[in-house]
């Protein structure tokens, strides 16, 4: 039984589908009058955030509280973290507090692995985004969103048979085409999504300028393209996911990855014109926070195809499922 969720690769096909199914159940409870479940009463979940992310922290906090867990928010940003040693000391402190699960966001790739493997804590470790490595719960909520839109009964690309109306329970993403666009090199969202969506049977295409793709990407289970128009027109994606691009990356100090925001937007932004290349059923996704006018136009962000606001809500259900399975159930998977 897997004790941690460090990478999307920790989940095999059955485990990934199961998390999505449990997340559906969790989402159903959230439509009730009384949202709170007693499942994790008496358990302690620590949100250990070494990096600002109100969005992710509040999502995990809401998830843990709705399962009746005690939540400790531990923000270590800007403290003596530069030395790194404090990760160990902080972990030992949390251990002493009796943390059953540690949800960690850290600017260093692999910090959750250290926490889980170095023997500093006995609790379960959930990776809430580590450096430029992974963000597995983001990938889960993206997969959840895609499945709901495209694999539920009555969905344009869904199969017609299964449980109740609108249900996607038990299904994967077999054969769906997902195009992920932008700064793959620095994106933990992209890494986790490539791994998870592939596990679930989707065909993933990454689109980016060559400077924003890692050397060594050849072994990834996806296609790679530098031509967004071609990928949208000929690839006929079912979902298009736009990644955040940081403006500072165009300066020499930032690495000089692209010449200007305007050129980036022209070549790789989801403009109104590109939106019109998409099949009618295609959804538009973004993990947030968005740079409107850079990687995504207002037309795209605010269009009816956009699932961007919905993704946030799905995040709580998915994180409830992960915490529940780690602490009270069985996450399954490979680890």
């Amino acid at each position: 039984m897997s004790r941690h969720l460090l990478s999307a690769a920790d989940l095999d096909h059955a485990a990934a589908v199961h998390v999505l199914d449990v997340a559906e159940e969790m989402a159903a409870t959230q439509r009730r009058e009384i949202k709170k479940l007693p499942t994790l009463r008496g358990r302690t979940v620590v949100n250990l955030f070494f990096e600002d992310s109100t969005r992710t922290r509040t999502s995990f906090e809401a998830a843990a509280k709705r399962l009746s867990a005690d939540v400790i928010n531990f923000s270590a940003k800007g403290s003596s973290v530069s030395k790194g040693e404090s990760l160990k000391d902080t972990a030992l402190t949390l251990q002493a507090m009796g943390a059953d699960a540690v949800v960690i966001r850290h600017p260093a790739s692999g910090a959750p692995h250290r926490l889980a493997r170095a023997g500093w804590t006995r609790g379960s470790v959930v990776n809430a985004g580590d450096g430029t490595h992974e963000h597995p719960t983001q990938a889960l909520l993206d997969a959840f969103t895609i499945r709901r839109h495209l694999r539920a009964d009555g969905a344009p690309t869904g199969s017609g048979t299964a449980a109740g109306p609108g249900s996607a329970t038990g299904r994967d993403l077999d054969g769906l085409r997902v195009t992920i666009v932008g700064d793959v090199l620095h994106s933990r969202v992209a890494r986790s999504n490539v791994l998870l969506l592939h596990t679930l049977g989707a065909h993933v295409t990454l689109v980016a300028p060559p400077t924003l793709l890692p050397v060594g990407i050849g072994g990834w289970p996806c296609e790679v393209s530098h031509d967004l128009d071609g990928a949208l027109r000929d690839g006929a994606p079912d979902a298009v996911m736009m990644l955040r691009v940081q403006r500072e990356r165009m300066s020499t100090a930032g690495g000089g990855f692209f010449p200007s925001a305007r050129e980036y937007s022209r070549r790789y932004g989801l403009s109104a014109a590109r939106l019109r290349l998409l099949p009618e059923h295609t959804i538009v996704m973004h993990p947030g926070p968005m740079n409107r006018g850079l990687e995504i136009s207002a037309d795209a962000a605010d269009s009816p195809r956009s699932t961007i606001v919905e993704q946030v809500g799905n995040g709580v259900a998915v994180r409830m499922a992960v915490l529940y399975l780690l602490l009270a159930g069985d996450l399954g998977g490979r680890a």
Partner: protein
């Protein structure tokens, strides 16, 4: 017959080493006396000079000239929390070394005659191996202005190897001047080849594993571009260049190309680059974080081949001890470096001898003779023959042991080989006839109460 004068510093009673396989060849006796090898022969038990000598049974053991490390970080002065000259040279003796070159990146930097003489003196006081300080190429390793290389060469430390190790002398004009300048006293520039702009904040080898792990890539071209430039510079000015810790296949090819043209270039490889690959980084354990980074299996193969065919002259440890807290953290925050003195010979046996790539004579050449010659050490790296200084190591090639960093003499616990079973154990080390190691254990110098 003992007809030679005692070696300087040679002391202690005579020692008769019986039945050692010299360079892995035929078994022979060696008589050590007055700091020198007094005699070598099939049976010296009846020799008059052997009367009263302490007898060491070396049946089944291989005798090699005392190992010489061209690249050791002893950390003193400045980082005595990581290692001292005392602890580092104890580790060296246990690893079979009789001489080490102490790198200049101490605090203060070894960029003046005063500091190199201090390190030299600390080595003499410790007495475990000969300590030859490496001088910094530039003041403070800052890459701006040449350090007083001549003063260090003329000092009591007689510095011949100069290096900004840890930093690359990246300015082409400064590198050219350094190469030219040290020719006046037969010095060599040992370059840490790392193009700085291509490796800003780099964390591990750039390739498939770094792509997955989201760690900033350290491209092989950053090493190869500097080596290519430097071999051409060395040829242009006719000065000796030594390339530190070569880690990539491309680097081996460039050095091979340079040697084919007769360029005055030598190179070293570390034991860890002969065995370990970037696959080990997958769990983000910083014990595998090192500069240059662990590369791929193809690079490992090329390095072994290059060492076997002589493209790479030397195995050097790049022994780099760190206190536990500098490794007990997340990858990006961790220090780069690995300990190596006490595992070097075993790793070379494992990767080069047991694979048939080198015989023991080849190991002696690459771990003793060649590094001594590059460092211009006259009394090290000598043949095991009558009249030569009695610097030698006896190792048991049939032994197997499991690496336990806590049991090491070095203060550093950052061995990347921890938990591995390795072949070959150092049974005895002799420095000018005195046993620094006997039965695998350090022998405290007589008259000291440590």
């Amino acid at each position: 017959m003992s007809t030679t004068t005692p070696a300087p510093g040679g002391t202690g009673p005579a020692v008769l080493v019986r039945g050692a396989r010299i360079l892995g060849g035929e078994a022979a006796d060696l008589l050590l006396s007055g700091g020198r090898i007094a005699d070598v022969g099939p049976d010296l038990s009846g020799a008059p000079a052997a009367r009263g000598a302490e007898v060491v049974d070396a049946t089944g053991l291989v005798a090699l000239p005392g190992l010489v490390d061209l690249h050791t970080h002893l950390r003193e002065p400045g980082r005595e929390d990581a290692e001292t000259v005392e602890s580092g040279t104890r580790a060296a003796a246990r690893g079979g070394f009789t001489a080490v070159h102490a790198m200049a990146n101490t605090d203060p930097v070894a960029d003046t005659a005063g500091v190199v003489e201090q390190v030299r003196r600390l080595g003499e006081e410790a007495g475990w191996v000969d300590v030859h300080p490496v001088g910094a190429v530039t003041v403070g390793l800052a890459g701006q202005q040449l350090a007083e290389l001549g003063a260090m060469a003329d000092s009591a430390a007689r510095v011949r190897v100069f290096s900004d190790d840890g930093k690359c002398v990246w300015d082409a004009v400064l590198m050219r001047r350094a190469l030219e300048y040290v020719r006046a006293f037969d010095g060599v520039i040992a370059q840490h080849a790392q193009e700085p702009r291509l490796t800003e904040d780099a964390q591990m080898n750039e390739g498939e594993v770094s792509a997955l792990l989201g760690l900033r890539g350290w491209p092989s071209v950053a090493e190869e571009a500097i080596i290519a430039r430097d071999v051409l510079l060395a040829s242009h000015v006719g000065s000796r260049l030594h390339v530190c810790h070569v880690s990539t296949k491309g680097s081996v090819e460039i050095i091979r190309w340079a040697k084919e043209r007769g360029f005055p270039v030598t190179a070293e490889v570390t034991p860890h680059h002969l065995l370990l690959t970037d696959e080990l980084v997958r769990d983000y354990d910083p014990v595998f974080k090192v500069n240059p980074p662990l590369r791929t299996q193809a690079d490992v193969e090329a390095l072994r081949e290059g060492l076997a065919d002589g493209t790479i002259d030397v195995v050097a440890t790049d022994h780099a001890p760190h206190p536990a807290e500098d490794k007990d953290c997340e990858w990006a925050a961790a220090a780069m470096g690995m300990t190596g003195l006490e595992t070097a010979l075993s790793v070379v046996q494992h990767t080069m001898v047991e694979t048939g790539l080198l015989d023991w004579a080849g190991v002696a050449q690459r771990m003793s003779t060649a590094p001594a010659r590059i460092g211009r050490l006259e009394a090290q790296g000598r043949p095991l023959a009558a009249g030569e200084p009695a610097n030698l190591v006896l190792l048991d090639p049939a032994a197997r042991w499991t690496v336990d960093p806590a049991a090491m003499a070095t203060a550093g616990r950052n061995s990347p080989f921890r938990g591995r079973e390795l072949p070959g154990a150092v049974v005895a080390t002799f420095l000018r006839g005195r046993a620094t190691v006997r039965d695998g254990a350090l022998v405290e110098p007589a008259g000291t109460a440590r």
